[in-house]
Amino acid sequence: MNPQPTDATGEAAPETTTGGRPQNVPVVTEDGAAGTPNRPAPGGRQVALSDLSAYYGDHRAVKEVNVSFSAGEVTAIIGPSGCGKSTMVRCINRMHEEIDGARAEGQVLIGETDLYGPDVDVVAVRRAVGMVFQRPNPFPTMSIYDNVAAGLRFTGAPRSEIDARVTDALKAAGLWEEVKDRLDKHGSGLSGGQQQRLCIARALAVEPEVLLMDEPCSALDPVATLKIEELIGELKERVTIVIVTHNMQQAARVADTTVFMLDGELVEVGSTHKLFTTPEDERTERYVSGKFG
């Protein structure tokens, strides 16, 4: 069996009874920084999607999306289940293509580099773009320390650096104080929220430019969720964050910019405040006011 993206299969559900709706060009309500040159940013890099489409076999789950995520910001992707938001995000670190029969077309630019370019190695892409999944998934055979060090070891980081970077990543994930005395214990002994922060630390340790979070709080209780949300606010100093969420309140709490997707199309992009208070597209308005979804 190939790795089954349990988190994404729901997104693949054919909810494409859109009929003859015209291919809407997304309404960009604010300058999405599409044309701005790379900021020399300490806080990650800008990511731009250009005509990105994603397929499961013949089914097109993401339809020619054009959007860019500003460096050092948190962007939330919202939309009803099956709208393609997880799929789109999984195209950014090319995890989408790990599914049998799945493929993507178009461009994903980090800085000026197209991640789907011919010379690009998929393994290197994933070092530049980290990911946190729906359910916490620490490696069960490894200790807390080894979990965080795993990415570094996989990618052949110098031994001498590992200790420092593990500590740093655990601190950045707000987990250091809780686990510093039991680094050699198994990660499976932690609570759900701690496990998820362990996974965040694991992703941060390889020092990615961009961190993708695919509904990172959906398996957590409210207290743990709050902690992660606070963490996201701190982390945007380090990385560009793209977070998929089905929870609009969460998007409102954590995101600078919010993207609304429907049926694989990007409907509207705007500052979070604007998108939730004065959306331009009628569908966005109906969704954020809870009329469907």
Binding site: D7, M95, E98, G130, V206
Partner: protein, 298 residues
Amino acid sequence: MESGSLATELLRPPSPRRRRTDKAMRALMWTATFIALVPLVLVLYYTLKKGIGALDWEFFSTDPTGSFLGTQGGVKSAILGTLEIVGFAAVVAVPLGIGVALYLTEYGGRGRLAQAVRFFVDVMTGVPSIVFGLFIYLVLVLGGTGGSTFAGWKGSAALALLMLPIVTRSSEVALQLVPGSLREAALALGAPRWKVVLRVVLPTAASGIVTGSLLAIARAAGETAPLLFTSTIVKGTTFDLNEPMNSLPAQIFQDLKQPNDELVQRAWGAAITLIAMILTLTLVAKLIQRRSRGKGAT
């Protein structure tokens, strides 16, 4: 209590007939379990009773003499032979089996080659051990590989054929139980595929793979038929797998046919030894399985 009220109607116990059937069937299941345990108890009791007398230092420390009169000797060569033959078979079959299982779960997927491999591994599981023995006899013994003769390693080859599909199947099941989310997590960290497979997937499935492999080894250790015409039966101890080699099952089979009380007792003693070896393997396997289940790691 008034008869006829709704409450009594609902709370009325099942009719006597239904209760009787229930009781009878429960009794039947108790009985069946008891019946199933009878042969086990009898076999173990009888084997111990007949063979315990044979177990002394000499039994473990001398080879069969084969003389017609006088002392018959012990089964040292058979014990060592079994360890060598089964050990070598495991060294060959376990890595190969795990390799095929890795191919099936990590690379083959639902492709045509993988489906073919899966099907034929299943076919192989069903091939009787004696037919594998026959095959090895034809190819290696008659074919004269390494000198046209019986040899310990040829016995190992027959047992390895027997073990390979069992190891493959159980490893495949263990590997499939590794959650896809772990593979994803490792890939998303920028691990190349081979590191994902060797450093994350394989360790996570390790306890299941070890359990399956130990059970396969235990299964092969008790096999007699394929050894009779591959490694055959000899008297002396040898550590050279190119030589004909004795083994416990073959020795038991040989001794049993002799109308000689000492030999028959030796056969029972050898049976105790063999059962003890297989039991140890089986119990260790079950223990590992239970511990990993208890941890809920996989």
